[in-house]
Symmetry: C2
Subunit: 399 residues, 2 copies
């Protein structure tokens, strides 16, 4: 049987990161390559308790088993929208919020509503490869704009906007970016919004790590600076509750959201109702801020430990990001060096990073950056792994 595939699928490959996961899944590997939140941060007992309560009320539980509406379970919408409004000043008068099957689905449904094949999307370089692949499934051309420690290079952003009349939106992870750990400064956020207005494009702000700040000052989301519905915010419960529950949300202007909801009807009808009920009960009855504070304390400890080991052992030619939150930090080798080689050396010595090319629009070109995850390894693994990696780096730099 010779299958005829759609054009969108002809060029897409499985995410390189997933292939790397397979390679680095050996039991004796120290892995800094994960993208997962630490299971130690999951509110296990609270979720068990609310689940227990939910199933004890037979009539209420039965309602969770019937079809629901595409926008989401009303108590879940309400508690999420209230939090986003009060804490982050999002949810303008014309904005709507829907519950999605993970943050990724919000990104997918937004593309479905606005991207035609051949349209262009401006992305940070490096960026989250899951989103890049979603954009590719809509036939979008991806235009990378280099990330700096305080956000996109604005000159190159304006150049990209000027040269590409078919740009539909700018995609950014403004806070604790994956993979770099960089946070876009308030000035750059304002400038990006201004440029988006000037060239009449939208901004898709992806905020899965926003609440994981363990040092420094909160920076307002771009969505909170937007008064006209130009910014769409994709949120996720994966890092503040659990990724396995596949719960996220999307905030967009009403007219746009109507189209997005039609798209959701045509993909999964609605998000699992029982899980929405569990999560909305958890969010109503428990203190999410307190829960997040505990997760942040853990990540602060891990990040500081990793940076302490790096400072002690890594050659000074390698520059590392100093994230104030999130799950990742980013190492940059001297220009011209390719981190794919370092990755191979690391795997041989049983320590795994993710080579930067995996996060690039062109993932076959050499890239001198690499990602380190600190949420999953144990303290001991961090100490030993960075020591081994530092050895690899020294050897690599001599080559």
């Amino acid at each position: 049987m010779q299958y005829h595939f759609s054009e969108r699928m002809l060029t897409i490959q499985p995410s390189a990161v997933r292939e790397i996961f397979k390679l680095t899944n050996a039991p004796d590997m120290i892995s800094f390559s994960a993208g997962n939140p630490s299971p130690d941060t999951f509110p296990i007992d609270a979720l068990r308790q609310v689940t227990e309560n939910l199933i004890s009320d037979k009539a209420a539980f039965s309602k969770m088993l019937q079809y629901g509406i595409s926008e989401g379970y009303n108590p879940m919408i309400d508690v999420t929208a209230k939090r986003m409004k009060e804490k982050f000043n999002m949810m303008g008068e014309d904005d709507k919020l829907i519950i999605t099957s993970g943050g990724q689905q919000g990104i997918d449904l937004f593309c479905k509503a606005v991207v035609d094949a051949g349209d262009a999307v401006i992305v940070e370089a490096p960026s989250f490869v899951g989103s890049l692949n979603t954009f590719r499934t809509y036939g979008a051309q991806l235009i990378p704009v280099p990330m700096q420690p305080d956000g996109m290079d604005l000159d190159l952003l304006e150049k990209a906007l000027k040269e590409n009349p078919r740009v539909r939106f700018i995609y950014c992870i403004a806070t604790f970016q994956n993979p770099s750990g960089y946070t876009t400064s308030l000035e750059k956020r304002k400038a990006m919004l201004e440029l988006a207005r000037k060239y009449d494009v939208l901004i898709l702000e992806d905020g899965p790590y926003n609440e994981l700040r363990f040092s420094g000052e909160h920076v307002p989301t771009i969505k909170s600076l937007d008064t006209e519905g130009r910014v769409i915010f994709s949120g996720s419960y994966s890092k503040v509750i659990s990724p396995g529950v596949r719960l996220g949300f999307l905030i967009a202007g009403n007219e746009l959201m109507q189209k997005i909801v039609i798209g959701k009807q045509a993909t999964d009808v609605h998000t699992n109702l029982f899980m929405q009920a569990i999560a909305s009960e958890f969010l109503s009855k428990y203190d999410l801020d307190a829960h997040i504070a505990k997760a942040c304390a853990l990540y602060k400890h891990k990040a500081e430990l990793m940076l302490k080991c790096i400072d002690a052992e890594m050659p000074k030619e390698i520059v590392f990001s100093r994230p104030e939150g999130g799950l990742f930090l980013w190492g940059v080798l001297p220009e011209g060096k390719d981190s794919a080689e370092l990755f191979n050396m690391g795997v041989e010595k049983k320590v795994a990073v993710v080579p930067g090319r995996a996060f690039m629009v062109d993932d076959r070109a050499p890239c001198n950056g690499f990602r380190l995850n600190y949420s999953m390894p144990t303290d001991e693994q961090i100490v030993n792994g960075i020591s081994i990696l530092a050895g690899c780096v020294k050897e690599f730099l001599k080559k």
Copy 2:
């Protein structure tokens, strides 16, 4: 803010059925317009029990909260594939099965893998409007082929295949079709597969109602007749467990499935893991066949009651389908009559059907069919509702 929408979204409207639901949601309305399984068939106590067990094992529960793989939770894949193989002779040597977020998602992901804008899809007329809308989101042209009580009109099917070189697949709900309740005969299934071979197109067999047989003999699925990976089977747990859990599955040849899995990574990453664990525990520990037998007994009773009332009260000019399973029956008014008028008369008298045009490719053209659901109304509502509806029909036929 003036939004620029994708071409696929410019022409799509919210499902007419959903609009009808709003109209027929009045508390004093007798509704035969639903598409839901009866909540009396949900295995509430069993699901509560397995959920209780799952949350009692803290370590096992914690694993359900982490990211999973896109193909699905392995025990859920295994129990589903085993059942489909042993009971329905599907799962050929080259076939793979993945777990989807409801049957609808399988249909969506299949389209993502094979449909380009401008491609054609042959659909039964009438058909399930949710799928028609999914096909529209991929820019497919829909080619309707009339349904007869034993399946598609084969002459018109071949004509459609001959005239349209860009047909990618034939979409069919071969068993207890929504909306007609018709079941395609074994001969027609074989003939459809033969035609698909002759014109080198795929068949997407949608089987959400397959297990709800309450009379007559099992008819093999088209997928079970397929030896070359030409048929893709979309299955659903919505009607045999519960729709709120959003669990379905898709069976396709390995090479095709690899592309479909990449599509799933780009949409919702994976289906809710906790719900998959609950369902797989339920499927392993409980007797699904016995559970389904109870649901079928209920539907048999409801369908027979409705048909008894119809036989007693409806004018003989109206022909009704005699389904052997599923949730629906289909009334056909004399040619030239438009059921949309009957729908309006019914709503005035507080009884709601779904006018057939809602299930047609062109949903603005008059249609003489209409759908009746018997799974949701009470016995009393069936008796009273059919009586009122018969009055409307008599009045309508006099016009």
